[in-house]
Amino acid sequence: MAYLSLAKIRRRKKRDGASYWLLPLLLAGLFIAVLLSLGIGGVSIPPLASAGHFFSYLGFTVSDLQPQEILILEAVRLPRTALGLAIGMALGLSGAVMQSLFRNPLADPGLIGVSSGAALAVVCVIVLGDTLFASFLEATSSYSLPLAAFAGSLATTALVYNLARREGATDVAVMLLMGIAVNAIVGSFIGLLTYIADDSELRSLTFWSMGSLSGAGEATWPSIGIMVLASLLLLRLSGPLNLFLLGETEAKHLGVATEGIKRQAALAAACATGAAVAAAGMIGFIGLIAPHLARLIGGADNRFVLPAAALLGALLIIIADTIARIIVLPAELPIGLVTSFIGGPFFFALLFREFRKRRA
């Protein structure tokens, strides 16, 4: 059934070229997923009832939820959903932008050091926090981990970006290689710090690296703000990034200010991903899969792929978080585990599909 409709979509795509008509469908799908996800958990709330509750604020309907249900909905699940939406959007978009920038369908923000930088900074704070960074912990209190993660990802990206600069020009191929080298070095530092960490530090480290949306609340608002702003900037790059896929020289010949685009893309992707990692730890695979999924249903035009990857990323996070919340009730699974668990096999499927197509 699902396969049939996919075939129909593909035929449609061939006929009229552009696939923008899929975007409202994706948005509607995301809306439904959010309503369903808001109702699923320890206390279940029918989706229509929660929709009715939200519309009651506009005066259209009368809310028939219990006060306790309203509390769960508004204080627990809504912030969590909002954070999930922002993270999914940021990760999906950053992935799509990186893949265009590097002209490589396997690229993700991790390549330019975003994730490893954040991880190193967080490991530093967790392991050395009570000794070397005591004053930092005091000054930032509950914001210390997100701040460190964000700063770490920006600093590493800036390092990779500047290492790849030669005479005012940045070569993306060099950037990729520099990213690999920097990632290796940063990884060794993470390993070293993990080695000297004690048991409780190891535990919090491990949990952080598996990602979770449970930190949603006031502390994550700055992160959400950064993700939204950076995403808007990334969306504006969709046109020039199309030309980037032809090759950087070709893009320049077509009038794209390539250096500016590279700088904006790297900076905005680092901010978006850095903020996502800061708010929820490491959530793998969304940045890789959401853009692929977008291309699969609607073609490679970035003016479609970028917004679609944002919507699909958000959709995937909402689904993964719902699963993470209910699968081991009353506890909850780290969301990073769920995305990797679904993402791995999905990626296999993508690869096999690609092989089949090449043989045909």
Binding site: G17, R103, G239, G247, H253, G255, V256, G299, D301
Partner: protein, 263 residues
Amino acid sequence: MTLSVNDVSVVIGSTPLLQNVTLGLVPGQFLGILGPNGAGKSTLLKVLSGELSPSHGTVTLDSTPLKAWRDETLARRRAVMPQASQLAFPFSARAVVAMGRWPYERMSSPFQNHRIVERAMAIADIRHLGKRSYPVLSGGEKQRVQLARALAQSFGTEDETDSKYLLLDEPTAGLDIAHQHAVLKAAKDQSKNYGTASMAVLHDLNQAALYCDQVALISNGKLIASGATADVMEPALLSKVFGCTITRQAQQGDSPLSFTSSL
């Protein structure tokens, strides 16, 4: 009112790729660049397109240094057809050609863009490939899609008066003989009908003689000769530059120059 290099040298490391080359592209003329492998033909094209800054000398368009032009404005004046373009993502051939309209996105209507893309695709003979995915096209078909993209870019808008520059880097490489002629004819027509200054790096002497108004001969990074095709393409000079025996058939009436070569 030309795109020209003045006393340009390019040195990469300690290897000189171009030495003191002075050359201009003239609107309405089709210039062929001839020379042995490694002579600096593509380097010259890269300097003219602004991809490579010369180590010495200046590149100017309308007397303004190329560097002082904004990328977007420059893109409305000159189009480049690259030697090979890697595109791993499944864009349709038509979408790739339409990318050539990017510099005019805000200046001409979708209808006009569509018509120009159609025209460019017709000239490059790829209308039947429009919906095919670019990565699965053959090498020659990809070349023609790139040609159509460069043509779509150099068509500009209807009310423009500034002369355009069309730079083709080995446009006939990998094409069958009929399409080789089609590509060169397209470049020549562009010059004749729209006053475009076209330039192509070529290897076939007979094709250069048949289509080019002017020829520049390059060897070891130096400009050996440039000027009207019949004047430059002297058998003795060509033999010396290419290091083989090149003879020119006696001309009868209006027939084009024709060359044979042997070691």
